[in-house]
Symmetry: C2
Subunit: 407 residues, 2 copies
């Protein structure tokens, strides 16, 4: 018996289930896999032997399509860091014991930085113990797009599309009144500004898009921001601003932290204000015009109804690649996308050593941001544009998208 | 010369431009209209003679389709209340003078309560002055769905669909971890809870949807809310809550106002916390589990990419009805939808005296809300379900929906 186990980890995205669909597709067509199992709640579920039989849950291609359009992690997720095996390898020996018990030869783990660390350690552990019939492969996933070694990460393209579409709609919304107003939209990203940059995609059809875009990489100055906004207000009634949640001042202090400390309500509870909320207050008190702040919040990572077709298809192909690598008896690799060209958009699917990926962050390069630090450059646009192309086909039932529930 | 003027007012919606498309369609096909003009920024633009030539801007059916899928008000909007003509009729005489100057015989005004007040006063003024060749007709529009005299309002169905879809996606997102967590989502609606009720549409395909739904009509108690949440946490890891922004305590004080008064930051700025933010803090301090608040904010009124086909088509037909009523030499009416049956869903388009609509609010009836005040009833569901049926066809260009810009 050669069984395969797949699990998901990290924050939800609109595309991570397509990776699972890809793993299942490849496993089914390869003829080399007996049982196809999913672990519920990631590596935590592996340790607790909480498995679902995916051959039973997925009855045909229709179910695979539904899985691809279901947002978040259909197998659940976890935020669970395994202990360092050099100090205590009991969790690793337990995982291997469970793999042996269930004849699991192939383990595919889809996730971000932490999950790739798990793949790295688990594959190294198996190698050290001479268990060369266990193949552990990672599949990338994060809307933050901050994994190194892959041109981009599944989930990012769909989040980017949601953000581009939403900024285009917000631009129309904010344009209707002829009074001066500022709208500040906070986008996810504590340390990498990729998602915030995607707001510029709202300009794809000639729209103005956000007037100002601040990623979290350059140092942020509230004074500089207020000057920028005042200048934009001279020629525009409506000023639309995109900011990363993780904008920081020149000392590396988050803007959200720099102001909120003293905010308490009548019960003495402290309020945690986001960056946009802090800047809203700055505009209100220092410029005095109408101002509003918006957080795209969880919607930006789970809006599968407006997923990028490119993203979903690539996500599925990365799942197939990951499974294929495992079946080829590889281990300790992460499936990755290598970009060959922007236009025409061409990519190659490959596997890279997961040790080169784990615990690293890919930030936005300097030349993707303009000199003033308040917009992105054409290099960024060329990078972003292909990733949101095409609309994922969504099957609706009773007016809302149909989702597949695995547990 | 018999020219027609159309204008838009009030808050943006995903469907108001379809009403303008309907007006244009009817005007073009009737053969009774010479010029078709749009006033920019509502009645304010009429007074300032800021007109666009819609025959020139709309070159064919393709442009009409694009107009239908463009969110917000393509002709701009205003928040501008005309002076009471009994006190000072100078604005009314000026409007009529402008109508005469441009041979405008038909004026269609799409908007909410205030706009219907304008239609009412302007049509009455023309009647009083014996100008029976000027025909003033209203078309309903508001995501709040609070206009009386019409079964529902264009814009509501699309906002309801966005809310239903988003809650279904948030449910998937919040479900992935196996730790106790509460997510509180604030939906628009200061005085009417229709939009918040639409969160229940997330259950259309068997999902649990929000565990708790609080509309703004019944008195809201923070203590009762905390009890409800605790009870739900006993049997669920993730508790998803929908609340109206306008929830009020038994004395009619907005929950958002009851707590925020003392919240100030280190600069002494006061923070305006929304209802969800106040409840988030209450859960954090009183229950102590992981909690997050989300505002659907402007996205819920401008998400044309996920518009309801039923809503967009009805909105267009209401525009046609409004134009048709004007061409029939009617005045002082509002185009309205009358529901004949829920299942099969059947409606009739009609015109009702606008004086019966102006300055009134349609709240959610008591029997649409459960006895505990924390959910909706089947009556509400029967009312809501037909309104989100079908997906409006959206033409994408370069990865984002194409929008038509009129000025």
């Amino acid at each position: 018996m050669k069984n395969l186990l797949v699990a998901q980890s990290g924050g939800p995205t609109a595309a991570i289930n397509a990776t699972v669909a890809g793993v299942i597709t490849e496993a089914l067509t390869s003829g080399q896999v007996d049982g196809i199992w999913g672990a519920v709640n990631g590596i935590k579920g592996v340790l607790e032997e909480r498995f679902v039989d995916l051959r039973e849950k997925i009855q045909g291609t229709g179910d695979l399509d539904l899985l691809c359009q279901t947002p978040a992690a259909a197998l659940g997720s976890c935020r669970f860091k395994l202990k360092d095996p050099a100090v205590d390898d009991s969790q690793f020996s337990r995982i291997v014991e469970i793999f042996r018990k269930h004849d699991i030869k192939y383990f595919i783990y889809a996730g971000g930085n932490d999950s790739m660390d798990t793949v790295d350690k688990l594959s190294a552990y198996c190698r050290e113990k001479g268990m060369d019939d266990i193949h552990v492969i990672g599949a990338p996933k994060t809307i933050d797009n901050d994994l190194v070694g892959t041109d981009h990460c599944p989930g990012f393209g769909s989040a980017a599309k949601y953000i581009g579409v939403t900024f285009a709609e917000l631009e129309r919304d904010c344009h209707v009144y002829d009074t001066k107003a500022v709208t500040i939209v906070e986008v996810m990203g504590r340390n990498a500004g990729w998602l915030t940059a995607a707001s510029a995609l709202a300009r794809n059809n000639g729209g103005k898009g956000p007037n100002l875009i601040y990623l979290c990489e350059p140092a942020f100055s509230i004074e500089g921001f207020l000057e920028d906004v005042k200048r934009e207000l001279e020629t525009n009634d409506s000023v639309l601003v995109a900011i990363s949640e993780g904008i920081k001042d020149k000392n590396g202090v988050y803007i959200s932290e720099s102001v909120q400390s003293g905010a308490v309500d009548t019960f003495g509870h402290s309020y945690i204000a986001g960056s946009a909320c802090v800047l809203e207050e700055a505009v209100r008190s220092r410029i005095g015009c109408k101002v509003r702040s918006i957080e795209l919040n969880l919607m930006q990572r789970c809006a599968a109804h407006v997923a990028s077709r490119t993203d979903i298809q690539e996500s599925r192909m990365l799942g197939m690649t990951a499974c294929h690598l495992a079946l080829e008896r590889k281990t300790g690799l992460m499936a990755a996308v290598e970009r060959i060209s922007d236009e025409p958009y061409q990519v190659r699917f490959t596997g890279i050593p997961v040790c080169s990926v784990a615990n690293q962050e890919k930030k936005v390069p300097e030349d993707y941001i303009n000199a003033a630090g308040n917009d992105v450059t054409e290099k960024m646009m060329s990078y972003l544009r292909p990733l949101i192309q095409g609309e994922a086909p969504v099957i609706y039932k009773n007016g809302i998208p149909a989702h597949l529930i695995l547990y």
